[in-house]
């Protein structure tokens, strides 16, 4: 059948089982939006293209399916860039479509022209500029295939307006075969044997699991391995939810704001089994002092992750799930009583905690959210101190229920990602744990939430600071609060490190009024005793709710491994 490029676009997305896409139209996308209009595709109009990308991302993280977003040429396309980079660094399957000026104008600095394939090359897994309508169906098919296979990632497809309008015979490519792209899933049996031997003879093993375990749906296999060989497990920010938090073997998060016991376990281990994790510098601390006594097994689908930062002894390249299934057959049932009791001593001596007094402390808010939702909500975070507290105090029980921007650390990710996650999981409670700074980076998406009745709950831990940066200034820069106070006005004293005095100018914006302006519910909570009732109320309301918790302003995230220090140089309290 003869179809136009725009009709092919809609047809291909339906065949790829896309049920929802996020975006904003523009001049060079009118043909495609015209065909979306009245089709079975559900398009959610966002208020900013970055919001569209993060919504597609939240949709993907919470389901494992490929998220889809769409933006017009030029500024629409460039607005996607942060969202693509964010998805790229966290290996999230996503396909982004952009309109482009007609092929005849490409390269002319035409109105709203941007070389978006050039711009996004370093932040996408692959990208395409479709110059001929005959290629469109194949390109879309390949884009979805590449985004979702191997190590997933975002793929961008740039479609010039004349290609959208041109017609061709529509042929749906049943199969995708790309000779230069053949991800390898099976692990090498010899390597798996070697890994099993190391595990069988280790005395102080640690499993260090990352986002790859979520992607490959191998949390059950990790649990089985941990139980069979009695191996404690540390889960990175992206792997939270992959291992039951109430297990004795659970070490929590490693790294800069990881637990004392996870970091000490790594430093004292004789065998580190890394699964779907990539030895990020926020995890390893000083690389040369990382896990000094350990042999390292690294299971990862991406060969470029192997021995990138840390040289490993036994690499196993392939899909974590199939490798762990094989590995679990090869390992002996064993126990490491002495090692576990050592870890329990560390746990007892240095638990993750905070000062439990009458003050409204941010950690308390997270604990209350955890209790009220029984750790069964989908928690999304922004970036900053609140993100780390969420990671430390929210006990996510299942994969895909803790969604956070790990690799890029994108403030403004949480609100739109929460909207995407809630749309994909309408029956789940979705809470965005937010900071007062981050919230304002994509606040416009409140309109998207309200109009589409996406009943997310946003808990803003308002410390009136860009808190994470302020903490570094306090700890390492002599409390010189350069540009981190969100009250600051030109008449403030040049140097000020005293928060919350009566003389401080009023905080802007008033988040409660802002929520109301958008048609959401706003609740401000200023005392500890009001936290639980307010949360209960928020959960009971069938509307998006913004909770503004006026928390202690200068609370710090602890423990902390200072940048460049070894994991065992961890600071547990500030004297």
């Amino acid at each position: 059948m003869i179809k136009t490029g725009s009709e092919i676009f809609v047809e291909c997305l339906l065949r790829e089982n896309v049920d929802i896409l996020y975006g904003i139209p523009g001049g060079q996308l009118i043909p495609i939006f015209d065909k979306i209009y009245g089709s079975q595709l559900k398009l959610i109009l966002t208020r900013h293209e970055q919001g569209a990308a993060h919504m597609a991302d939240g949709y993907a993280r919470s389901t494992g399916k490929t998220g889809v977003c769409i933006a017009t040429s030029g500024p629409g396309a460039t607005n996607l860039v942060t969202g693509l980079a964010n998805a790229y660094l966290d290996s999230i399957p996503m396909v982004a479509f952009t309109g482009q000026v007609p092929t005849t104008l490409i390269g002319n600095d035409a109105f709203q022209e941007a070389d978006i394939t050039g711009i996004t090359r370093p932040v996408t897994k692959h990208n395409y500029l479709v110059k001929d309508v005959k290629d469109l169906a194949t390109v879309i098919r390949e884009a979805f295939y590449i985004a979702s296979t191997g190590r997933p990632g975002p793929v961008l497809v740039d479609i010039p307006a004349d290609v959208q309008r041109a017609s061709t015979e529509f042929i749906w490519p049943e199969k995708v075969s790309i000779r230069s792209y053949r991800p390898n899933y099976e692990g090498h049996p010899g390597q798996i044997k070697k890994a099993a031997e190391l595990i069988n003879s280790s005395k102080r093993p640690v499993l260090y699991v990352g986002g790859g375990v979520i992607t490959s749906e191998s949390s059950a296999e990790v649990i089985a391995l941990a139980k069979k060989a009695e191996i404690p497990v540390t889960t990175t920010l992206l792997a939270i939810g992959a291992f039951p938090p109430d297990s004795e073997l659970c070490l929590g998060m490693p790294g800069m704001h990881g637990t004392y016991f996870a970091n000490h376990a790594i430093q004292n281990s004789d065998l580190l089994i890394a699964v779907g994790s990539r030895f990020d510098d926020r995890v390893t601390g000083k690389v040369s002092a990382f896990a000094p006594h350990a042999r390292i097994i690294h299971i990862d689908i991406d060969p470029t992750s192997i021995s990138k930062n840390v040289v490993v002894d036994v690499p196993v390249v392939g899909d974590a799930k199939s490798i762990l299934l094989e590995l679990n057959k090869e390992i002996k049932k064993s126990s490491h009583g002495e090692w576990i009791s050592q870890i329990n001593k560390w746990k007892k001596a240095h638990p993750i905690t905070y000062q439990k007094d009458a003050k409204l402390r941010p950690q308390y808010v997270i604990e209350a959210i955890d209790e009220l939702t029984k750790g069964e909500a989908i928690v999304v975070t922004e970036v900053g101190q609140h993100q780390m507290w969420a990671a430390q105090f929210y006990k996510a029980k299942k994969p895909r229920t803790f969604l956070s921007s790990g690799g890029l650390g994108t403030m403004g990710f949480g609100l739109p990602a929460a909207i995407g996650a809630k749309m994909a999981n309408p029956d789940k409670i979705v809470v965005d744990i937010s900071g007062d700074g981050s919230f304002q980076m994509n606040v416009q998406e409140l309109a998207t939430a309200v109009l589409n009745k996406v009943n997310i709950k946003v808990a803003i831990l308002n410390n009136q600071y860009l808190g994470m940066v302020r903490q570094w200034q306090e700890m390492f820069y002599g409390k010189r609060y350069s540009a981190t106070c969100l009250h600051r006005v030109p008449s403030c004293p040049e140097k000020c490190s005293k928060p919350g005095t009566k003389l401080c100018p009023a905080y802007t914006p008033d988040f409660v009024k802002l929520a109301e302006a958008y048609g959401a519910v706003g609740i401000r909570i200023s005392t500890k005793k009001d936290v639980v009732p307010a949360l209960k109320k928020a959960l009971a309301v069938n509307k998006p709710v913004i909770l503004e918790f006026m928390v202690e302003q200068e609370e710090n995230v602890l423990p902390m491994v200072p940048a460049g220090a070894a994991l065992d140089e961890i600071i547990t309290n500030l004297a």
Binding site: R121, P122, S307
Partner: protein, 159 residues
């Protein structure tokens, strides 16, 4: 360490940019890069000569392999292979120096491909050693202009 890397890639626009971006992002200076068709017109071969830390280079090679348009990457280090570079060099030459230059060209089995009143263009093919050697000898006469294709390489023997 000097590496000669050969990448078989899909003959599509944008591939060269993807590859050079990878090297640039890691701070590698490319000594030479040549691109051309192979026995299969849909496949191009890029031959890249770079110098750099072995471990970082191994990482770059893996990343090259990871690019969707790259079919195969070969590092010729440690394998028997042939390398060739083609140079066109315009050398100052007058009555007094011409015969001397001709002798050098002869010894190196190079070719004179253009003659003008005050210069000659010499065409040289060979590996790096040969080319460096003849250039060294031609230099004193005065090199006006020079152009090189960059190294191309193939493994010896059966495929």
């Amino acid at each position: 360490m000097r590496h000669t890397i050969s990448a078989l890639v899909e003959n599509k626009f944008g591939v060269l940019a993807r590859i050079s971006t990878l090297f640039a992002a890691r701070g590698f200076n490319i000594d030479s890069l040549s691109v051309g068709e192979t026995e299969d017109p849909d496949v191009s071969r890029m031959t890249i000569v770079v110098r750099g830390d072995d471990r970082i280079l191994e990482q770059v090679e893996k990343q090259l392999n990871k690019l969707v348009d790259v079919i195969k990457v070969i590092d010729f280090k440690g394998t028997a292979h042939l390398e060739r570079d083609l140079v066109l060099v315009k050398v100052k030459a007058d009555k007094t120096t011409r015969s001397e230059i001709l002798q050098i060209v002869d010894i190196f089995r190079a070719k004179i491909v253009d003659v003008a009143a005050d210069s000659l263009i010499v065409e040289i093919t060979g590996d790096v050693n040969k080319i460096e050697a003849i250039l060294l000898l031609l230099k004193p006469f005065g090199i006006k202009e020079m152009c090189r294709t960059g190294i191309i390489a193939l493994a010896r023997g059966l495929k």
